[in-house]
């Protein structure tokens, strides 16, 4: 026991020294957080969506996830309960009552909103999440430690965790088909949507298109492009025929998703000035306290 303790102490001391040395050499300061002006986005027109759930099937197929045959997605009974994306489905469609046409409910596809200033990217302890130039917020399997802070941070509660896996559990969320788009493909859901309720294009163009639709059909749309300003702007935008609160969209402000946490963080750590000042101040105090009474020291 005694030996073990001693070894542990030595090991810890060595580890600290080693870590300090390595940090300086290999680490880099933060994850990629690009906010390219010509990034792509998707405009989801919930008044056009028919709730066929082909996007759910296409998403699973494109990501190599297990899925029943596409015919089974015609079952509209799933709409009786609200669903959220999880480790088995990166996107789900929910239905909400349409008072004007009870036969045709509003159907809303849910997935990662791909924020311009994502809270998850800001939060991730190891920078496993990053915002790419093409708009995608992607997750890096090689970095993630599974702390789930991204799930705490996400204002839309989108990232999901593989709670049932002991080894290499993943944080799962829509990756905007990052791999497919590398080969110049469309996101799988956009490609499969039979009515193009999902319009893929440059975000700025999509904002224009969305505003135009609202202007032209005021009787069809509420005058609100969700995601244009929410949490500083998301790359996925939504149009709806009813108030977004009725479609269970969270009511969010215009300030970027990480909120004040980054300012606080950088305030505390502004070029290490506050910690170093505190260190110096305490050292001074210690020196004064030790010498003032002129007693024997420690």
């Amino acid at each position: 026991m005694q030996k073990l303790d001693r070894r542990a102490f030595l090991k810890n001391t060595l580890a600290l020294a080693g870590a300090a040395g390595l940090q300086a050499g290999t680490a880099h300061a933060g994850p990629k957080n690009a906010l390219s002006p010509d990034r792509m986005g998707v405009l989801v027109d919930t008044t056009v969506c028919i709730g066929c759930r082909n996007c759910e099937w296409a998403c699973k197929t494109a990501h190599g996830m297990k899925t029943p045959p596409i015919e089974s997605y015609e079952d509209r009974a799933v709409f009786s309960a609200m669903r959220r994306p999880d480790d088995t489905a990166l996107t789900v469609v929910n239905a909400y009552p349409n008072p004007r046409r009870p036969e045709v409910p509003f159907t809303v596809k849910v997935q990662c909103m791909h924020c311009g200033r994502p809270a998850c990217v800001s939060a991730c302890i190891v920078g496993a999440l990053s915002k790419q130039e093409n708009g995608a917020v992607v997750w890096d399997d090689a970095k993630c430690i599974g702390c789930r802070y991204c799930m705490i941070a996400c204002p839309f509660q989108v990232p999901a965790f593989e709670y049932r896996k002991a080894i290499e559990p993943k944080v799962m969320k829509c990756d905007f088909c990052f791999e497919r788009r590398k080969q110049d493909g469309l996101p799988a859901c956009v490609e499969t949507c039979p009515v193009e309720a999902l319009t893929f294009g440059p975000r700025e163009e999509l904002v224009r298109v969305a505003r135009d639709r609202v202007k032209r059909r005021p009787e069809r749309y509420v005058s609100h492009v969700y995601g244009e300003f929410e949490v500083g702007g998301t790359d996925w935008l939504y149009l709806a025929g009813t108030d977004f609160a009725g479609l269970q969209f969270p009511k969010l402000g215009r300030s970027p998703a990480p909120g004040v946490s980054e300012s606080i963080q950088h305030g505390i750590f502004a070029y290490f000035v506050p910690p170093v000042s505190l260190y110096a101040l305490l050292g001074l105090l210690m020196w004064i306290a030790k010498n003032a009474p002129a007693e024997e020291g420690d």
Binding site: N12, A119, I125, V126, F161, P250, V260, P275
Partner: protein
Amino acid sequence: MDHYSRPAPIVRPFLTPGVIALIVLAVNGLVFLAGRLLFGIGAVTNLDNQHPWGIWIGLDVASGVALAAGGFTTAALAHVMHREEYHAVVRPALLTALLGYTFVALGVAMDIGRWYSIWHPLFMWNGNSALFEVGICVVIYVHVLYIEFLPAVAERFIGRVALPGPLARLNGPVDAALRLMDRGLSKTMFVFIIAGVVLSTLHQSSLGTLMVIAGPKMHPLWQTPILPLLFLLSAVATGFPMVIVESLLASRSLGLKPEMAVLSRLAGMAAALLGVYLAFKIGDMFVRETFVHLRRLDTASVMFMAEVLLGVVLPLRMLLSPQVRRSPGLLFVAALLVVLGTALNRVNNFIVAYTPPYSFRSYVPSLGEVSVTVGFIALLVLVYRAAVMIFPVISLPDRSLSPREKYTIRA
């Protein structure tokens, strides 16, 4: 240094009925922990995609860090302020902090999905992340704590190194190394002590920043941009009460006369610090006008009132009374209220206040989660007991050593 000797290892039998009960709890926790390691977090916990963090973070980690604040507050008082009269409480507080942080690290490792990747933050940095800062500070601080504890190790073994069997011929060199280290440390210890205080200030506050990013998902009673300040102030205010609770428990179980002179002075300072914390807490509530949420009777308002009234206001009132500060029993109650109040504050911030936008059910910790948490606490107490029996931690009075009494010391 009047009638207290230098700290010395306690000589007692290790196994007592209380210890056996702790071992049972610890083993029970380890069984559930094995379940988590073999079948994943979901197999043992009630966590889901809406409630990613449970008591393993809210209690084991957040409260653990707050309650280990005694380590840096006493270090600041005794070493930085150079108040020699408090040196007797420094080592127990240091050991509590050291073990507390070690178990915090263990708790974090078990809560994260890929425990074997826990070293990633050392090499993969994200300067924007409050969690990254907490992580790095805690890692460094744990090492600082171990270094601060090294003199106790040196004290115990210098001249007494006795390695078994063939290693016995290393006795000489090890002894020499220990002496060298002791000499070196006594000259440089101030570096580590100040570093410990700075690191604690940083990560105690950053622990508060953690939940700021949850934004509107956090109940407005708790969500405030000054969360880091509130966390720091409450941690500082909890440091001394934690030392008081510990010291009173130790003296009681060892049958010693409580060192009320030191403790009531600590209590006075604790009252002042608690007052500052309360002022900021209430001030924040009025500035953001969140008191409107107290008009409704729900879980949030009840928990908030419990935290503030029972955990801050009541003990503050008690600590302000000289009578309470002089009475070991009342002082123990007041200090315990502060400790529990801060623990409740951390649980409130991390669990009660967290209201996800799409909740299918509310989070209640599972049997497995509670078992693991209790098991970790039991393990911590056991290790603490073992440590005070091996190393010179607790200062004993010169005469009044009563070996009949059995004792337990809780962290």
